[in-house]
Amino acid sequence: MAFLEVKGIEKGFGTLKVLKKIDFSLEKGDVIAIIGPSGSGKTTLLRCLNFLERPDKGSIIVNNEVIFDAMDPATQRESEVRKKRLHFGLVFQNFNLFPQYTVLKNVTLAAELLAKERPNYIKDKKAILKEIQERGKTLLSQVGLSDKLDCYPHMISGGQQQRVAIARALALDPDILCFDEPTSALDPELTGEVLKVIRNLAERNTTMIIVTHEMDFARDVADRVIFMDDGVIVEQGSPNEVFGNPKEERTKQFLARYKKN
């Protein structure tokens, strides 16, 4: 069984069916790029994986553990969901950093709050918090922001903010890191620095699902590409198959439009 199994996910908003029976799987260390036109359901799929939306049907299995099953209410209890969603990390299109905290605190806050639930927290509080701080600093140096630890989000550029958001997501050691169009809100000259960070993560065998409109980047960094349109996976395969030799008419049309732009 694959590391991540997504089976028969369906999601509708009112009468609008946004996802229609989505099946895919992912091996540990793999990078999947999800491409497709706006409104094809890419973002909704990521949001389902991160429990920001509740699928109407289907199941999600990580490392042989059923973390969501639409048929089984026990997997949907609030307290359960909070723990289970930590299998996934999510980097948002709009960064969503916490404006009142420094860059470092943005990265460490969630880990500090989770640490309170550890049984040895009261006893080893100092050591635990120090460890979290150090980890935060390491992650921020990994994304090239060692000199911005004490800045507030509004003081740094969009590209830097997104790199902080990536470090923040990594701080909780998610099994699978998801990106929702991580460069769409950035000025063109700032996308490069963010893509470089993601590329570095791929080289370190971070398991990732990346929704993106950066076709060259997807082709370059992904092990597998999924093309979605109208709530279904139209085609999936290696980057060379999907980009070099698309089988489906819809994929061809979509890619042709991108080449023209």
Binding site: N50, K83, L97, H154
Partner: protein, 220 residues
Amino acid sequence: MNDILVIVSRLSESFVLNCKLFILTLLFALPLGMLIAFGSMSRFRPLRWVMRTFVWIIRGTPLMLQLIIIFYGPGLLNLFFSWPNGAPGRFVAATVAFIINYACYFSEIYRGGIESIPKGQYEAGQVLGMTKPQIFFRVTLLQVVKRIVPPIGNEVITLVKDTSLANIISNKEIIMMAGEYSNKGLIWPLFATGIYFLIFVGVLTVLLNWVEKKLSYFRV
């Protein structure tokens, strides 16, 4: 000269009532407003409906009328309780009316502030495994506070001046005191009351500016 000193000291004494009313109202209306705000945002429809109707009634009628109803209502309707006799009863009734009235205004400011926080802030907290209370207290609260300081400041300043409305149910506050002199033909004490309010509001303005400055280290 002696007369002036006597009048000033009597005005000052009566202004204590305005100050007490102001402080008690803030003390209780600020937290009560939060409860009303949560009620009016509740996913439980009947509660939301009741709260919003209540806020509509309170904001939709004059505070002066509310003072009269709250003070005379219990006696006229033969309710199971009535206000204590004399000045304490009148003061308690006025305080209750002010708290209810201002809590409703505050609740709408809170609601606006809370609803203005981008959904992404909640979602970022959620995907990082935070509980709902953690998201509220550690992520959104300070952002809400920053946004609502100016409108709350406005209401607080209005409250200072509204305290004089308490004289409609015979609370001897500063305007009423000055009015006693003007009834006797001495008009300047009435003008002098303005100075008290100006100084009070001046101090508050400095305080509010300080809070705003304290919160200017981040942007929302």
